[in-house]
C-alpha cells in the first residue's frame, strides 16, 4: 500500500484509493469538484514518487513535466509526496468588468485577465474567489471576436459559488482563473462536416461560442444547434442566435421546450429528442453535447448508435460539486 506525504503529514492509502480520497478521509482541505478527471480543480504537484500515467492524461506538457497530476485519478502504486502546487503556475488574476442578467437565474459575467489568455471557444476555466472556493465554468466567448472573457452562470439552489456571483460579487473586484481546460472545441480542417450541437441550461454558452468560432473560421457544412429548457425563460440568447441564423444559411438554431405546449417558433420536447428526430443519421457528423450529465450521457449513446464515431463526439457534462461529496467508486 502506498503512503501519501502531504505538507507535514504522512497518510496510509487504502487499496485502489485515490490521493484525493486519502487526503479527504484524513480531513485535509483538498480542492476538488467533479472527481472524474474533467474539471482539474484537484490538480496537485508530485515532488517525489511516481505518478501513474492516467493521472496526467490531458494535462499540458509544461504542467506534466513539473509533476502536476489530477489527485482524483491518481491511484499511486508506490509512496508519493505531493503538494498543492505553485499557485502562480496555475492561476492568474482577472478583474470583473460587468455582470448582467440574461434570464431570471442566468447571468453573464465578463472579465479581463491580467495577461491575455490563449484559448479555444468552448473550453472552460476554473474560477476561484478570494477565500479559495473554486468552480468550473465554460467560456462563452470566442478568440478574435470577443475582447474579454465571458461566462454564463446559472444560480443553483445551494450553489455556493453561483449565489455569491449573483448576490455579492462586485464589479471591479478580482478573482483567480485557471485554464483553459477541456477539449470540447472546434477543430478546423474539415469545413464541410456536419456539426450537431445539443445543450441544455448554460450548456448553451460553450455551444454558441463554438458555432460562432466555426462560422468565423469559414465552416460551410451544416451547423445545427438545439437548446433545451423546461420553461421559455431558460431559452436565453434567442435573439442573438436567430440573428446568427439569418446571417448564415448553414447555421440553424432550435429552441426546445420540454414543458407545456410551446409558443410558435419553438420545438416541443427535450433538445436531444428533437435533434435526433430531425437528424436520424449522424454518420460523418461531429457532435457536441453540453449540459447536465444525464442528458449528455444519454445523448452520447444515441449519437453513437445513430452512426457518429465515438471520437467525433465531444461531451461536456456539467458536474455539480454540491452533488459530489462522496468518493466515486473505483473502476472495475
Amino acid at each position: 500500500m502506498a503512503t501519501v506525504q502531504f505538507n507535514d503529514s504522512a497518510y496510509e492509502g487504502q487499496p485502489s484509493e485515490t490521493v484525493l480520497d486519502t487526503l479527504l478521509r484524513h480531513g485535509e482541505e483538498a480542492n476538488y469538484s467533479c472527481r472524474k478527471g474533467s474539471c482539474l480543480n484537484c490538480m496537485m504537484q508530485a515532488v517525489e514518487g511516481a505518478v501513474p500515467e492516467k493521472a496526467q492524461a490531458g494535462l499540458r506538457d509544461t504542467l506534466r513535466a513539473q509533476g502536476y497530476f489530477l489527485s482524483c485519478l491518481c491511484r499511486p502504486e508506490s509512496d508519493i509526496s505531493v503538494v498543492q502546487g505553485e499557485d502562480a503556475a496555475l492561476y492568474q488574476r482577472a478583474v470583473i468588468l460587468s455582470r448582467e442578467l440574461l434570464a431570471p437565474d442566468i447571468c453573464r459575467v465578463v472579465l479581463e485577465p491580467a495577461t491575455p489568455l490563449y484559448y479555444h471557444a468552448g473550453q472552460f476555466l476554473n474560477l476561484r474567489r478570494r477565500n479559495g472556493l473554486s468552480r468550473s465554468y465554460s467560456l462563452a466567448c470566442v478568440p478574435n471576436l470577443d475582447r474579454y472573457l465571458e461566462f454564463h452562470i446559472k444560480r443553483l439552489a445551494g450553489g455556493q459559488m453561483s449565489n455569491w456571483v449573483f448576490d455579492e460579487m462586485q464589479v471591479g473586484e478580482s478573482v483567480d482563473i485557471q485554464g483553459p481546460n477541456g477539449c470540447c472545441f472546434y477543430l478546423p480542417g474539415d469545413p464541410g462536416q456536419g456539426l450537431l450541437m445539443i445543450g441544455n441550461g448554460t450548456g448553451l454558452a460553450p455551444l454558441a461560442a463554438i458555432a460562432r468560432d466555426a462560422l468565423n473560421d469559414g465552416h460551410n457544412g451544416p451547423i445545427r444547434l438545439y437548446h433545451g429548457s423546461r420553461a421559455e425563460g431558460g431559452l436565453y440568447l434567442q435573439d442573438r442566435l436567430l440573428d446568427l441564423a439569418a446571417a448564415n444559411a448553414n447555421f440553424s438554431y432550435t429552441g426546445c421546450l420540454s414543458g407545456a405546449a410551446p409558443p410558435p417558433g419553438h420545438a416541443r420536447g427535450r433538445a436531444e429528442e428533437v435533434a435526433f428526430g430531425e437528424i436520424p443519421d449522424l454518420a460523418g457528423w461531429r457532435v457536441y453535447l453540453c449540459g447536465n450529465p444525464p442528458m449528455v450521457e444519454g445523448a452520447k449513446k444515441r449519437a453513437f448508435l445513430a452512426g457518429a464515431d465515438l471520437k467525433e463526439i465531444y461531451a461536456d457534462a456539467f458536474e455539480l460539486k454540491e452533488l459530489r461529496a462522496a468518493p466515486r467508486p473505483a473502476p472495475a
Binding site: K300, K301, F304, L305, L310, A332
Partner: protein
C-alpha cells in the same frame, strides 16, 4: 510460419474498422447491454476492442486477465449460453457486413466458439 488470422485480416486496423460496428450492435441489444457498464463509453469501447482482438487471434492487452476470470462476475449475475450466442451472432453479422471472406470468418467464429466453456466458467 503461416500468418495468424489477426495478421491476415490486417491486425489493429481491422479491429478498429470492426469495433464501432460491433459495439453498436451489442449496445442496441437489450438482452446483453445490461451486462455492459455504459457510464463510460470510451472505456467500454476498449473492452470491445479486447474482445475482437482476441477472436481475431491477436494479443489481449486490455488487462491481460484470462477469459474465465474476466467473466466470472458476469456469470454470477446470470450470464449464460443465450448471452454467449447473442454476442457470437453480432460478431458474425459484423464480419459479414465488413465483407470478411467466408473462410476467414469461419476461422474467427471457430475461435469464438472455442471460448464458450471458459467464458461461461464451466
Amino acid at each position: 510460419m503461416a500468418d495468424t488470422i489477426y495478421q491476415k485480416i490486417g491486425g489493429e486496423a481491422a479491429v478498429n474498422a470492426a469495433v464501432d460496428m460491433f459495439y453498436r450492435k451489442v449496445l442496441s441489444d437489450d438482452h446483453i447491454s445490461g451486462y455492459l457498464d455504459n457510464t463510460d463509453m470510451d472505456a467500454q469501447r476498449e473492452k470491445q476492442k479486447a474482445f475482437l482482438t482476441m477472436v481475431f487471434g491477436g494479443p489481449n492487452e486490455y488487462t491481460g486477465k484470462d477469459l474465465r476470470t474476466a467473466h466470472a462476475k458476469l456469470v454470477e449475475q446470470g450470464m449464460d449460453d443465450s448471452h454467449f450466442d447473442a454476442v457470437a451472432g453480432h460478431l458474425q453479422d459484423t464480419l459479414s457486413e465488413l465483407g470478411v471472406p467466408a473462410d476467414i470468418a469461419g476461422e474467427i467464429m471457430t475461435v469464438a466458439a472455442g471460448t464458450r466453456s471458459e467464458v461461461l466458467n464451466r
